[in-house]
Symmetry: C2
Subunit: 363 residues, 2 copies
C-alpha cells in the first residue's frame, strides 16, 4: 500500500530517500556483487561506509576535535549501566536529574552499579510527575558526573527547547541521554562530557547507539571492567573492536547523507519548529478540547503529548487518524493520551495534515 504518515515514538519514520537507497543497493552494494551486510567489517567497502557515517556526524553536529564519536550496541538502556560501570568508582557519586521514566531507569541501573563498584548514585533533582523541568540545578560539589535526559519521550518534555535557551549548569561533567534529542538542530557539543543516543529516533534503525564523548572524560574510565564495556576499547578501535552492526551503521550513513543534502541541521531546526508549532497551535486554540499537560517553556518539539476530554474520544481519535493514513499516535501505555512524534523524517506537510485532522476532529 501507499506509505502512511508515521508518528511512531521509536523505532520511527526514516527518510524515504535513505530507505530507497538501501532498497536499490540491497543485493549489490558499491558494485561489489554482495549486500553491504554480507561484507566483512574489516573490508575496504564496509570501512568506507563506517568512516563516512562517523565523518558526517562530526560535520553535521560540528563535533570538536576534543570529542570522540563511537558506535556501540545494546540500546540506550545498556548505557544506563555501562556509563556508571566506566565512571562510577569507589567513593564516586553520580548525581541524576530525574525528569521522567527514562531518567528513572538510568538512575536505577546506576544505583545497582554503584553498589557493585563502591560508588553512589542519587537523584539530585526529582521532577515527578514530569510536567516541567528545573531551570537550574543544585550546585552540589563532589559529584563524579551529573546525568540528565534531555528529552523525555513519554512525558513530552525537553530541556533547552526555547530558542536561545541553554541546558542548566552542572557542578560536574554533564552526561546526557539524547536518544530522542540528538540531530534535530545544531548544538554546542563541547558543553557535554558524554552524550549517548539510541539511533531509532532521528538517526536510523534500532540496534545502534551513538556516543559523543570528551576524550579527557573517556580517559578517566575504569580499566578493571571487561574490555568490551570499556569505552576506550571502542574508541581505540574506531568502533571496530568487535563486529559492529554493519547494516544499521550503513542505514545511519544513508540518513546522515540525506540530512546533509537537505541543508544540514539549521534547516532541520526550522522545519522541526514549524512542525511542532502547527500541532501546538491547534491545541492552544482548541479552547480546552486538547490539553497538553506540559509547562509551555519545556514542551518538546520531538514528542508532543496531549489529552482529549475522555479516553473514549482518544480511542476514536486514534482510530479515525488511522483511517486517514496516520499511525503511531497512541500515548505510551504508562501515561495514556495521545503522543505525536515529529522526528526529522516526518515532513512539515505530514504535521500540517495532522493539524487539519485535529481541527476537524473537534467538530
Amino acid at each position: 500500500m501507499a506509505r502512511v504518515i508515521n508518528f511512531n515514538a521509536g523505532p520511527s519514520a526514516l527518510p524515504l530517500a535513505a530507505l530507497e537507497r538501501a532498497q536499490r543497493e540491497l543485493l549489490d552494494f558499491a558494485n561489489s556483487g554482495m549486500s553491504v551486510m554480507e561484507h566483512s567489517h574489516r573490508g575496504r567497502e564496509y570501512e568506507a561506509v563506517h568512516d563516512e557515517a562517523l565523518s558526517l556526524l562530526r560535520e553535521l553536529l560540528q563535533v570538536p576535535a576534543t570529542h570522540d564519536i563511537l558506535f556501540v550496541q545494546g540500546g540506550a538502556t545498556q548505557q544506563f549501566a555501562q556509563v556508571p560501570m566506566n565512571f562510577l568508582g569507589p567513593g564516586g557519586r553520580a548525581d541524576h536529574v530525574v525528569t521522567g521514566v527514562w531518567g528513572e531507569k538510568a538512575l536505577s541501573e546506576a544505583q545497582v552499579v554503584g553498589k557493585l563498584q563502591g560508588g553512589t548514585a542519587r537523584a539530585l533533582v526529582d521532577a515527578a510527575p514530569y510536567h516541567t523541568l528545573p531551570e537550574t540545578l543544585p550546585q552540589d560539589p563532589g559529584a563524579t558526573y551529573v546525568h540528565l535526559t534531555s528529552n523525555e519521550t513519554i512525558h513530552g518534555i525537553q530541556f533547552a527547547v526555547q530558542p536561545g535557551s541553554d541546558f542548566p549548569k552542572a557542578a560536574a561533567p554533564l552526561v546526557v541521554d539524547m536518544s530522542s534529542d540528538l540531530l534535530w538542530r545544531p548544538m554546542d557539543v563541547s558543553r557535554f562530557a558524554f552524550i549517548y543516543a539510541g539511533a531509532q529516533k532521528n538517526l536510523g534503525p534500532s540496534g545502534i547507539v551513538v556516543l559523543i564523548a570528551h576524550k579527557d572524560f573517556l580517559a578517566t574510565g575504569r580499566k578493571d571492567i571487561p574490555k568490551i564495556f570499556q569505552y576506550r576499547t571502542v574508541a581505540e578501535a574506531r568502533s571496530l573492536y568487535n563486529t559492529p552492526p554493519t547494516f544499521a551503521i550503513y542505514l545511519v550513513r544513508n540518513v546522515l547523507a540525506v540530512l546533509k543534502e537537505q541543508g544540514g541541521l539549521a534547516a532541520r531546526e526550522r522545519e522541526n519548529r514549524a512542525k511542532a508549532a502547527a500541532v501546538y497551535d491547534v491545541i492552544d486554540q482548541s479552547q480546552g478540547f486538547y490539553r497538553c499537560p506540559v509547562d509551555p517553556k519545556f514542551r518538546s518539539v520531538m514528542n508532543l503529548v496531549f489529552r482529549l476530554p475522555s479516553e473514549a474520544l482518544e480511542d476514536q481519535f486514534v482510530a479515525e487518524a488511522k483511517k486517514a493514513g496516520m499511525v503511531g499516535l497512541k500515548g505510551h501505555r504508562s501515561v495514556g493520551g495521545i503522543r505525536v512524534s515529529l522526528y526529522n523524517a516526518v515532513t512539515l506537510a505530514s504535521a500540517q495534515t495532522l493539524a487539519s485532522f485535529m481541527r476537524a476532529f473537534i467538530k
Copy 2:
C-alpha cells in the same frame, strides 16, 4: 554487477531469497505502508515477525521446552563478559576449554569478571597452537560451568564434527560459544546449559545474538547485576525488555524461513558435508601443494583453512580467485594462509566451483 561467490568468515553470505524478500518489502512491510524498521517493536506487525523468528528457531533446532531462546545485542564478544557476570559469583569457578583465539578472549573476559565478582576463571584445557581438540576433558569437580568454543573460525577446528561423534563430557553445565556452528545441522540442544551465537554466520546479519539456555541454569543467575545484563530480564520480556534490533531479527526470520523451505537442518547437513568434502578432497589429493594444518578428526566443515607452498602463491591464489568471481578467501590476519567459510548460504555449486579452481591453480 552479478552476485559474487562469497566465502567471508562473518559477516558472510546470506541466502539470496532472504535478501530478495527484504528488498521487496523494504518500503512497505506486511501491507502496512512502512518499512519493518519503522514499526514500533510493541506493535502487532513487528511482534509477529519476532515470534515467528523464535518459533522457527525452536522448530528447526527442536529446542526442548526446558530451554528458552533469547535475542540479545553486543555480539558474542559481549557474551564473553555477560556470561560470567550472570553465573560467576563469589567462590564460583569457570573452567574454560581454550581451543583458539575466540576461546582465549572468552577466558580473558571471564577472568576480569571473576576478579570483580569474587570468582575464578581458568583454562581447564589449553589446546594451543590449536591444530587439534581434546576428545575428553579433565573431570574436575567444583566448577560452576565449563565453557567451550565449538568451532574456532580462525583455526578451522570444530568439535563433534565427525558423523556420530559427540561433544566431550563435562563435570559441570556446558556453556558453548556456537557462533560459527549453530544451525548447520540438527543437534541435541538438551546437552547444553547455555548456547550463544552471533548471527553473522548461519543466521543473519551482524548486530544480533541468539541464546539458547536451560531455564534452570538461567534461574541460577545473579540478581545483583544491572537489570539489562540479567538474562532473566530478557527471558521474562520475550526479548522485548528494551528495543531490540528489529530489522536484524526480521532478517533472521527471513533466513530461518528459507532454511525451513529448503528442508530444514538435515538437508543442510548433507549439503554442508558435501561442500566441505569437495574442498578437503582437493587438498588431500594435491600431493602437498595445499596443506591443511588441522587434525583430520576435527577439520571444520564451516571454516576450512589451508596453506600453499609460499605466501606469494597464497596472494596469487586470492587474486586469481577474485578475478574468477570468488571473494573472502584470505586467512585471518593472525594466522595467514587461506580460509574458506562454507556457511549455509554458500551453495554446493559454489564449493565445487572453488574446488575446480583449486585443481586448476595447482597447474
